[in-house]
């Protein structure tokens, strides 16, 4: 491969200022929110669909693979440029092209930051529902790639439920629309397979999103329990009473212990679990549901129940949950954040087994979880400076994911497979299942030029990827 030829051609397409190829400039593109690392061939920052198309066609001609990248907040190594890929940083394509309040849709470029979209449509009393915890930084394009969720996807669904259409650049550089501005289209729902495909099928250049009316009322309730068992029983009971809250979040004793000194939430001594429930919608609905939820919370012997009366109090109740991961730094230098989903009814059993694994391995595990939909985020606390710890922690993470799959759950609720979990895919899928998925890839990208080495098992020794996974320096800015 002739690097200089690639660089020259790229500069011609996007302008010299928007091609990064010197090593010191490339370092920040080596990794994402995980610490998988790999040096890209170059980084190009296109400004339009046409530029993306030309870049993709050029890379194909020169046989250079491509990795599209949003804000790089991903936690499974999906944006890490394996195999000397060319990184397509989409951050310059950050325009909100159209807001159509009459039809409750917006058309945006992939580099638009999630929270900026909701802010931009607020004047129409609308918002974009999927709210990954990284929403202040993560981009809509990245959300489409990962089919991102967030705390409020319990009631409102994940990205695919809110994207009507995408304009994409295919592996050969051609530009096509999949889906559009309507809830149904004629022909196969190709939009639906591209969403969540982790950038392996096409590069997304425009997104048509569905917007929702902002809720008239919101109420947040918090209950503190002595153990996860009572909190989990309360979760099941809320669902059993016919309510799907907007969000239903939980923290265990270790997460509470980390959060308390940081955010001063005032959780009582001996708190074993905090359950946070939010309902929104019509004022009457919020009243009726919160009354029921308060009664349910009370039935399971809480140490304390708090109901926020205004926005400030609501923010305070959320502070513990939102600050929990960042606060883990008080307990250990590093943590490995895991993302698996289990059937909600298996919560008590799985949390007990995770506690066993923690005791057995000697690594403390703090848990924050989207309890309503069974999406677990165990965080293994460790110190990467101690020889061998990282490897042992990754191995422990694999055992937790195996546990999730064994009870009928899945490998990833919202972070994706990426590099991190590709070797675990056989836990869920046999060779025939994976081969059917591979054929989808082949229909889009026969040469494996788009985000190569992701999702599918590579059949390699895991020890080569000792730095795999979302092993994070604990500290502010951490999220899940």
């Amino acid at each position: 491969m002739n690097d200089s030829k690639l660089i020259t051609r790229l500069k011609k397409i996007v302008g010299r200022d928007y091609v990064v190829h010197k090593p010191d400039g490339l370092i920040v593109f080596e990794y994402d929110g995980s610490v998988d690392r790999s040096m890209p061939a170059a980084v190009v920052l296109p400004a339009s669909t046409s530029e993306v198309s030309q870049v993709v066609a050029t890379a194909r001609e020169l046989d250079v693979p491509i990795v599209a990248r949003g804000a790089g907040t991903g936690l499974s190594g999906g944006a890490v440029p394996t195999q000397g890929s060319l990184v397509l940083s989409m951050t310059r394509m950050n325009r909100i092209l159209e807001v159509d309040p009459e039809n409750h849709i917006a058309v945006v470029e992939p580099g638009v930051v999630n929270l900026d979209l909701s802010a931009a449509v607020a004047e129409h009393d609308l918002y974009y529902a999927p709210d990954p915890s990284s929403q202040q930084a993560c981009t809509i394009g990245g959300n489409v790639a990962e089919n991102s969720g967030g705390p409020h996807c319990l009631a409102y669904g994940v990205t695919t439920n809110h994207v009507l259409g995408v304009e994409v650049v295919l592996a050969d550089g051609s530009v096509v629309w999949l889906g559009g501005r309507t809830s149904e289209t004629s022909g196969l729902d190709i939009r639906g397979v591209v969403i969540g495909s982790e950038g392996t099928l096409a590069v997304v250049t425009k997104v048509v999103v569905r917007l929702l009316r902002r809720p008239e009322a919101v109420k947040t309730l918090l209950a503190v329990y002595a153990s996860l068992d009572e909190a989990s029983a309360a979760v099941s009971d809320v669902i059993g009473s016919g309510i799907i809250p907007a969000a239903m979040e939980m923290m265990d004793d270790l997460a509470i212990a980390a959060a308390e000194p940081a955010v001063h939430a005032g959780y009582p001594d001996g708190a074993g679990a905090v359950l946070l429930v939010e309902v929104d919608g019509l004022t009457e609905s919020v009243e009726e549901e919160s009354e029921l939820i308060e009664a349910v919370m009370a039935r399971h012997s809480p140490m304390e129940v708090r109901v926020a009366r205004d926005a400030d109090e609501r923010a305070r109740l959320w502070a513990g949950r939102k600050g929990a991961l960042g606060a883990l730094g008080r307990l250990a230098p590093n943590y490995y954040l895991i993302d698996g989903t289990i059937p909600r009814t298996r919560l008590v059993e799985v949390m007990a087994k995770i506690k066993d694994l923690s005791a057995e391995s000697g690594f403390p595990i703090a848990n924050v979880l989207h309890a309503g939909d069974g999406n677990l985020h165990p965080s293994i606390l460790f110190d990467e400076r101690k020889p061998g710890e990282t490897e042992r922690v990754l191995e422990l993470g694999g055992r937790i994911l195996k546990l999730c799959v064994d009870v009928g759950g899945v490998l990833s609720g919202e972070h994706g497979i990426g590099i991190e979990k590709r070797e675990y895919m056989p836990y869920m899928f046999n060779e025939r299942d994976l081969s059917a998925m591979k054929r989808l890839k082949d229909a889009f990208d026969t040469r494996d030029a788009l985000n190569p080495g992701k999702i599918f098992p590579q059949g390699v020794d895991e020890s080569q990827y000792a730095q795999s996974g979302s092993v994070s320096k604990a500290g502010p800015g951490a999220h899940a």
Binding site: T160, L188, I190, L282, E284, A443
Partner: protein, 424 residues
């Protein structure tokens, strides 16, 4: 049952296979495919009218024997069912646990979950605005070589591998045969009621509907009826154009929704408003979902338009006049929040559907849909008209990818050959 029962557009299969297990389905499909026989999967056969006439048709693969509800995990709000389970059977079972599958489909006593998903079209009822495709969390599919594969899972939040089920929802069985699906369920609402209103003009009724769409109440269904549709549904109140709004919630919430929706209707000078509850409410929505597919309301031809919601209102009057000026009687139903417009065309006399009449209406309708960035699928029409006019509205730029997917998943072209768009 005679093989004639399985006829599609006048073609009768030589063989009918009736497997009762996923393994049996796999075996039947593999055997047929090996011999190069063309296979058409069948569920309740309520909407076999959809699609181009088959290029070949040798074997009907009846999936109604796969009628096992594999699991209902009430506490997880999920269920896993075989493809041949009817919607009515499933809903009855879920109802015992205070849950339901948030979809409403024509002829639920016969329609199977596999069939409904293969067609992919949503009915009037939408929870959170979701169509049928949003309700699937996992799927098992049998490929033409008999190989069974699964994707997704049994949990509601999952990004583990490609969401393969999306390929098969709305694919009319052209890429594989749906054998089993896992579904996301919804708690049954505590209370339900329907507000009906009638107006002097299409525009007034539509404007009231849009006011509700923009309001804070999120109805389960928001449906506009043209005069002929209203009449055929037995909505014979005063006024010509009708609106029906299906509401659900706990008592105080429902009362507030009723007030808000009634107020929105009142802003546009209704001739009449009313509230429908209980059995009458159920019957109204059953009639709406069945419309165009049951014996009583089966049209000579029908089109299904998908439009941005506000655009639907702009075309309603034109759609009515396009049909009327050509001597056809249109019964139009619009599910406004989804932007779905169903144009059912009836013949005014015994002369039937003369080509000249239908072709003009279809051309005009497609033009109107395209101008507003929507699509129009000719769901029902005489065989000759389907050949002449084409059923599908084109896959646009994505057609080439659809062809490549067909080549990947059904290289022998044995599954429903020719019935999908662009000869797929």
């Amino acid at each position: 049952m005679s093989n004639d029962t399985y006829a599609i557009d006048g073609l009768t299969p030589n063989t009918v296979a009736t497997p009762t297990s996923v393994e049996g389905l796999s075996e039947a499909l593999a055997t047929s495919a090996r011999d190069g026989l063309a296979v058409s999967p069948a569920g309740g056969r309520t909407r076999t009218a959809i699609g181009m006439p088959p290029a070949r048709y040798d074997v009907a693969l009846d999936t109604t024997g796969l009628d096992n509800i594999v699991a209902h995990n009430a506490g997880d709000l999920t269920a896993t069912v075989q493809a041949g389970v009817t919607i009515a059977t499933l809903q009855a079972k879920l109802q015992e646990h205070g849950q339901f599958l948030a979809m409403d489909t024509p002829l639920p006593d016969r329609a199977t979950i596999g069939g409904v998903l293969a067609v992919g079209a949503s009915g009037p009822l939408r929870w959170q605005g979701w169509g049928v495709r949003e309700l699937v969390i996992g799927m098992t599919v049998v490929a033409p070589d008999g190989v069974t594969t699964k994707s997704g899972g049994h949990v509601v939040k999952n990004v583990s591998g490609y969401d393969m089920s999306r390929l098969h929802i709305g694919a009319l069985g052209t890429l594989g045969v749906i054998a089993e699906v896992s579904l996301k369920l919804t708690p049954l609402p505590t209370g339900q009621a329907t507000i009906t209103a009638s107006f002097r003009s299409a525009a007034d009724a539509f404007s009231a509907g849009m006011a509700i769409f923009h309001g804070r109440t999120s109805p389960l269904a928001l449906t506009w009826f043209s005069p002929v549709a209203a009449q055929k549904l037995g909505r014979t109140r005063k006024g010509s154009h009708h609106l029906a709004v299906r509401l659900a919630g706990r008592p105080r919430t429902l009362a507030r929704m009723v007030d808000d929706v009634t107020a929105s209707c009142n802003e546009f000078g209704p001739v009449d408003t009313g509230r429908v509850d209980g059995a009458e409410h159920e019957a109204l929505w059953r009639g709406v979902a069945d419309f165009g597919w049951d014996e009583a309301t089966r049209p000579a031809a029908s089109l299904r338009l998908s439009l941005p919601p506000a655009a639907a209102g702009e075309v309603l009057a034109s759609l009515e006049s396009a049909a009327a000026t050509r001597g056809l009687m249109p019964a139009i139903i619009a599910h406004m929040a989804a932007g779905t417009v169903l144009v059912n065309l009836f013949s005014l006399d015994d002369s039937g559907l003369a080509a000249g009449k239908l072709d003009g209406v279809v051309a005009d309708t497609r033009k109107l849909a395209r101008q507003r960035r929507g699509t129009a699928v000719l769901e029902q029409a005489p065989v000759e008209a389907k050949r002449r006019l084409g059923v599908w509205d084109g896959g646009g730029e994505a057609t080439a990818i659809m062809r490549r997917l067909k080549a990947q998943y059904d290289p022998g072209n044995v599954l429903n050959p020719g019935r999908y768009l662009d000869g797929i």
